[in-house]
Amino acid sequence: MTEHVPGWFPGGTPTNILTAVLFLGAVGIFAYVAYRLVKILLLGAPEDRFDRIGDRIKGVLVFVFGQRRVIREPSGWGHFVIFWGFLFITVGTVEGFVRGVWPGFTYRTILDPLHLGFLYLPLNLAIDLISFGVLIALCIGFYRRYVVKPLRLESDDPHAKVDATIIMCLIFVLIIFMFLERGADINIGRYEGSLAIGSPAWAPISALVAGLLGGPIASDVQLGQQMVFYSIFWWIHNLIILGFLIYIPFSKHLHLLGAIPNVFFRSFKPRGELPTMDLEDETVESYGISKIEEYTWKQLLDEFACTECGRCQENCPAFLTDKKLSPSRVIHHMKLHLKEKGRILIGGKPEDALSDEEKAALETQLIGDVVTEEEIWDCTTCAACMENCPVFIEHVPKIVDLRRYLVLTESRFPSEAQGVFRNMETNYNPWSMGYASRADWAKDLDVKTFAEAGEADILYWVGCAGSFDDRAKQISQAMVKILNAAGVNFAILGTEEMCCGDSARRMGNEYLAQTLIQGNVEVMANYKFKRILVTCPHGYNTLKNEYPQFGGSYEVVHHTEFLLELLRAGKLPLPKGLNGNGVVTYHDSCYLGRYNEIYDPPRELLAAIPGAKLAEMDRIRHKSFCCGAGGGRMWLEETVGERINEKRSESAIQSGAKTVGVACPFCLTMFEDGMKAKGEEENIRVADIAELIAADL
């Protein structure tokens, strides 16, 4: 029947001309908007993300097409179905669209000459079934969004909620009309043998709809009726598609464009390595980021990639304890600001030609109007947001960049931080303790300093907590007992050791951090050692991942890894057992777990203690809940909402454990304070794993 297509019918002339014009128009608008978005991205600073192309492509396959991070939680399967459904629907839509210009076209036109015609019916079956799956997924989505209202979908932008509703409705309606179109198509039977005619099994849902529309048909009148139906459905289906194409860049579905490149351009650097800054250049007037366009293009792409799924906020310790910060809100607000300001900046209009609105947009301050200082300082840099983001948005470095501006350029930060910075400058530790007493904890122990020994196999990096905090000194003392019992040849830097720089760096004081790091690199250059052993995950992370930026490349090992080595070599002196009922829970420190993927060694060590039974908390491993001390928060007051450490301590109490094993001195402090606040300090013991191991030494 291809040769008898009436002019008003899709594919007939002049309807096909109208179709082509509409199509080109919509694609043209889409291309123009996309081009402007790229121009906005290019306002950003340069950054090289073009290495390891093979791994980048692999990443796209795994994380975009495989949706690996999306499906980490059950509701992600809904997205999985919608994502794949959309790919198949697009395949079907393209065919229908081409047919609207070129009557009689089906994929068989292409597949048959390639001897692949046999794929056509299975393809149609797939489109039919998966589209139906999308309808079900959407229904579950509606239910979740409007009935269940999970925490992660909470947003302060009413427009964002409307946007989500519009998109879900559009997809829903689109699929309904697609099925109607396919049903009418079956009834018309215009591509005999191609679709479901004679084999409705290959398009069962569409065949069902065909029946509902009055098929199969028996007369010319009915044929005409079905042709009218088909036309109407075809137009609605395809106008929605074209409208969607134009709507995408203006909606949360911008992530369709942003997510794939964002996954492709993801960082392959260690997560614990903050980008360094050139502080030697004396012409620089402003440090850190205070304007959105000062971010790199990749940091801007993050904004376009955000889907507002809220996995970041659902895992954010600040958000979950009623602080002002929500990582998803930060990214969303940055996106709105970037689009508004970027549009004006790429327009290049002279200042006097700008409207009042445009001027106001240009005057909107990134820090203050878009992101508040409170939000910036709420962050514990725990990276739960980054770990759980399906599209690899890098929240933490962006927040640290803002802190860098506040601290370095404006000298504006919570007042408690000033004393901490001063102490680090003068006495190389965050506590107000004289640097000369750094090695006092080791006075009565058999510990050599490098100044005395000159060389040793192991440089035991004690860290500020282990040196100055009375409670954490016990970890250092326990470690020394173990090292001596195991016959390890080690030495410490003693008073030559300075603060590692982690807190200063994450609080945005890059100048101070670099001064400390360079000082330590210089000191360590004087001595010979094979490896650095660190008991504090913050020192571990920065020594391992950040010192190479300053010419200090070392083999760094965390004490849980090192103790496991000793255990495996049969050299670890194990205790007789644990106090209490032997039930122990383990808290994953952020800088050990999420930052350096050390999840198993601490658990293996605990399991090796005779009689120990491991009981896990609700949030563990990559979803572990920060103790509240990271990112320099250890040194700042926490006055808003519930205290993070108390919330985490509650999880530990609920695990039923009588012992909380930690592997970080900050976590230790936070848990002990938390247990006191909960009145459980008599019942539950908090201890570093080294202390549990060294119990009988």
Partner: protein, 264 residues
Amino acid sequence: MDILVCMKQVPDTETKIVINPEGTGIVTDGIKYVMNPYDEFAVEEALKIKEKMGGTVTIVSMGPQRATEAIRTALAMGADKGVHLCDDAFEGADSYSTAKALAAAIKPLSYDIILGGKQAVDHDNAQVYAALAELLDISHVSIVTQLDVAEDGKSAVAQREVEGGAREVIEVSLPAFIACQKGLNEPRYASLPGIMKAKKKPIDVIDLAKSGLSADEVGEKGAKLKIRKFFLPPEREAGKILEGEPEELATQLVKLLREEAKAI
């Protein structure tokens, strides 16, 4: 306003002080030096006055070579230039000979107000500002916790702490020396651009010759005070915890208080 700040570099407040074997001074090896904390209040106040009224802030300090670091810190906070009295002849000064040297450096300068800490936390004499004011023939107000300079820059109203937390309000004509106390303000933390700029700000070094004074008038020779001996208080002994029945404990306690502590 031309604002001067007298500043001293002192050992960090966390320093563990060790007396040299001769008892003539402290062991300076390994000591970290910082700006005298009370002088920080003075620098901050000077910068605030400058921000409000315009003008320049000049840091005047006497000390060995290392005192440049403290001057640079003040310049990084926002002061404009430094005057550094640096000469071996100035070593070993007491409050009087220090004031004498400072006065010599300050006299050629133009100034509307001079600020400084209420005392330096090393020797804790709290006398330099009074002597200096006398030598310059200007008034001084000590232990100031609030300062308001009049718009015309001719006078100031200062609040000072007196016994029992009471405040005394003093109006003083300028120039005068204001000795600053904690609570006056929150000293700022130098920004990085501030630190960078400070590297290029001028520091005028004044040696003995340039000061116009003779060697007999300054340093140890010019001092009216001779320190005879330094010693530390005896180290506190660890506390005792008594154990046993209450009646028995009471007897023990009384015995110890009478015989060992000699408190009763």
